[in-house]
């Protein structure tokens, strides 16, 4: 799960990491009011879950209140890489002397949280990694013992020469590491971490991603979820205990298991079709899940055919078949549906589906090709 910059900064501030003053606004009037209270030039920053907001025009400097009004009017409601901006953060404009990068990310290879720091901050860290990898310093922290003070200090010396700045940065790293564990983060990042002419180290930006698997014990974080910032179909799917990702094609896919769902989509593409979505109904699937899945997919106007591919293990094919019949009666779909049910209780499933006018596929390749034909697309391989 992602949270917004202003929310991440609230977490930083509560932990004692210095951040610029700021408040979030949803209307230009509110934005002006906040800026007026601050009484100095501000930044107007779009709050959306994408990187590269600055380059896309979502971050602007406002010298005076009129500029605050103009920019927040422009940014609120704008489309930033496909996401609508509903919040802007009004934050004091800082005097920047230097810009660094610090971040902590879970690393599957070293099986540890890895701290990365770089004196080349303010730009995409992936870009730094690609162009000047020698400017990135990494440390895999022993998860059992945690970050030691000297390690934080060593990392901080890669950023600054002045010991006063080193101490501040080391302190920030220690606090950042604490935050990482406390909130079940998978990523915490400050880019840029700046120094000011008066010798302060400040987190000018803040990014936090949370491990979805940790959310059950992170109620305060879960409450920060901005449902408007997510695709409504994905929210509905999550509520129905399904994994769903919307794509741009016209063949709706319902599959059990994430790996098989991906493999099915890959084959659709391979044979010349274009999948409309990724959808995994999960393991022990009850008929209700199939109904929700169908409802979500049928709402997509692009969908020309639906492919259902189930390999029954724990998932019982007859459960899925009952769900399909339920969906058929309730939703009366007009698009053609092709089904492949293999494994546990497939014979029962076939009997259940006999009364419908569904098409059937025998193998994975067969069902994919049929779905493509039904969507009036051409099979290219």
């Amino acid at each position: 799960m992602k949270i917004h910059e202003y929310q991440a900064k609230e977490i930083f501030a509560a932990a004692g990491i210095p951040v610029p003053q700021g408040k979030v606004a949803t209307t230009p009037a509110e934005a002006v009011e906040i800026a007026e209270e601050m009484g100095r030039p501000v930044m107007v920053k779009a709050q959306v879950h994408v990187g590269g907001r600055g380059k896309a025009g979502g971050i602007q400097y406002a010298e005076n209140l009129e500029a605050v009004r103009v920019w927040s009017q422009k940014i609120l409601g704008m489309d930033l890489k496909g996401l609508k901006v509903n919040h802007v953060l009004i934050t004091e404009a800082a005097d920047i002397l230097t810009e660094c990068y610090v971040g902590i990310i879970i690393d599957r290879a070293s099986k540890a949280p890895v701290i990365m720091v770089s004196p080349a901050g303010g730009i995409d860290i992936e870009e730094v990694a690609a162009k000047t990898p020698e400017k990135i310093f990494k440390l895999a922290v022993d998860p059992t013992i945690g970050l030691k003070a000297y390690q934080a200090r060593d990392l901080a010396t890669k950023l600054y020469k002045d010991i006063k700045l080193v101490r501040q940065a080391a302190d920030i790293l220690m606090k950042l590491y604490d935050i990482y564990w406390k909130i079940d983060a998978s990523l915490v990042e400050i880019n840029p971490l700046i120094t000011t002419p008066d010798g302060k180290v400040i987190a000018l930006d803040a990014k936090i991603n949370i491990d979805d698997n940790g959310l059950f014990r992170q109620k305060a974080i879960e409450a920060m979820r901005d449902l408007e910032a997510e695709d409504p179909a994905e929210v509905e799917a999550r509520d129905g205990d399904l994994s769903f990702v919307k794509l741009s094609g016209n063949i709706g896919c319902i599959v059990n298991g994430a790996g098989l769902a991906m493999a099915t989509m890959d084959l659709v593409k391979h044979y010349g079709g274009d999948p409309a979505n990724f959808l995994d109904i999960g393991g022990s699937s009850n008929p209700q899940k199939v109904l929700t899945a169908m409802r979500i997919i049928l709402r997509d106007q692009n969908v020309r055919s639906i492919l259902i591919n189930i390999f029954g293990g724990i998932t019982r094919c007859d459960d899925v078949a009952n769900g399909i019949v339920m969906a058929y009666e309730e939703l009366k779909p007009e698009v053609p549906i092709v089904v492949r049910l293999t494994g546990t209780n497939e014979d029962k499933a076939r009997k259940i589906l006999k009364s419908t006018d569904l098409k059937f596929g025998d193998t994975l390749d067969d069902v994919v090709k049929k779905a493509i034909k039904l969507a009036d697309a051409e099979i290219t391989v």
Binding site: I106, R108, A109, K111, A112, P113, E126, A129, D142, P143, T144, Y180, W181, D184, A185, S186, D211, D212, N213, G214, F216, R217, S243, V245, L247, V255, N256, G257, A258, G259, L260, A261, M262, A263, M265, D266, L267, K269, H270, P275, F278, D280, G283, S284, F311, G312, G313, I314, T315, T342, G343, T344, T363, L364, D365
Partner: protein
Amino acid sequence: MMSILIDKKTKVIVQGITGRDGSFHADQMKKYGTNVVGGVTPGKGGTKVNGIPVFNSMAEAVKATKANTSVIYVPPAFAIDAVYEAADAGIKLIVCITEGVPANDMLKAYDYLKNKGVRMVGPNCPGLISPDKSKVGIMPGNICKKGPIGVVSRSGTLTYEAIWALTCAGLGQTTCIGIGGDQIIGTNFIDVLQMFENDKATRAVVMIGEIGGSDEEEAAKFVKKKMSKPVVGFIAGRMAPPGKRMGHAGAIISGGSGTAKEKVEALNAVGIPVATSPTEIPALIKEKLEKAKTAGAKKTTANVATKKAAARKSGAKRKK
């Protein structure tokens, strides 16, 4: 006929045996022929589930049954504690089926188990099966068949698809193992590839990967350096958009690394063919086995020739 990790001698305790999934799969495992010696649910000790005795703790269960393996079906909030409990009770192989274990918890558990010399498979995995001997987890036994192929996979149902394709083509399996779809897992590709390399009965390996991370790339390097047996690959997620979680926590491409394209290239570069559809896997395996046979035959002929030459030499010596 050998296998890896589990066989007829494996004695299994089911953690969370009184739950919906635990009781169902305990029964399924037993029916398959797995030696399920007990189950654990705190507070339910002394009762029975499908004829299997239930204990209050792992320590009690291990003491009473001498079990060496555990399989975990407890809810995600308690799964890591179950892992620690099994390890502390002396279990040597822990298979964690539970999906939704916090990744940071796994970081700590991984270190703990490594220091104790305990192997963990999973979490968020279907477990493993050595056909006709034992199954630990949730894989459907009826799609498997005993034979010479090892299967290792990050996925669940996709693995079944691949196994089924192998079985239909007459290619049985030594052991099929699902290592799990999470970011932080107890056993990775390399661990399993090494075991298959050492297993006499395994003649070829199917490796099923997916987008996210660089485990497949690491595995490719390992195969090039350390493996004599042929490997065939499959990678799911060729058309996945970057930055999105595709069901599995581990299946997310961020920052341009971990794409299917990179993985396929890494595998191809070390001579591992990658199937486009799971149904292509058996043909690729047969081709590899054919080649290995011819190469093996040549080697044997060469060996015989050298031996004959050596015999001639020694004979010549004797004549002298």
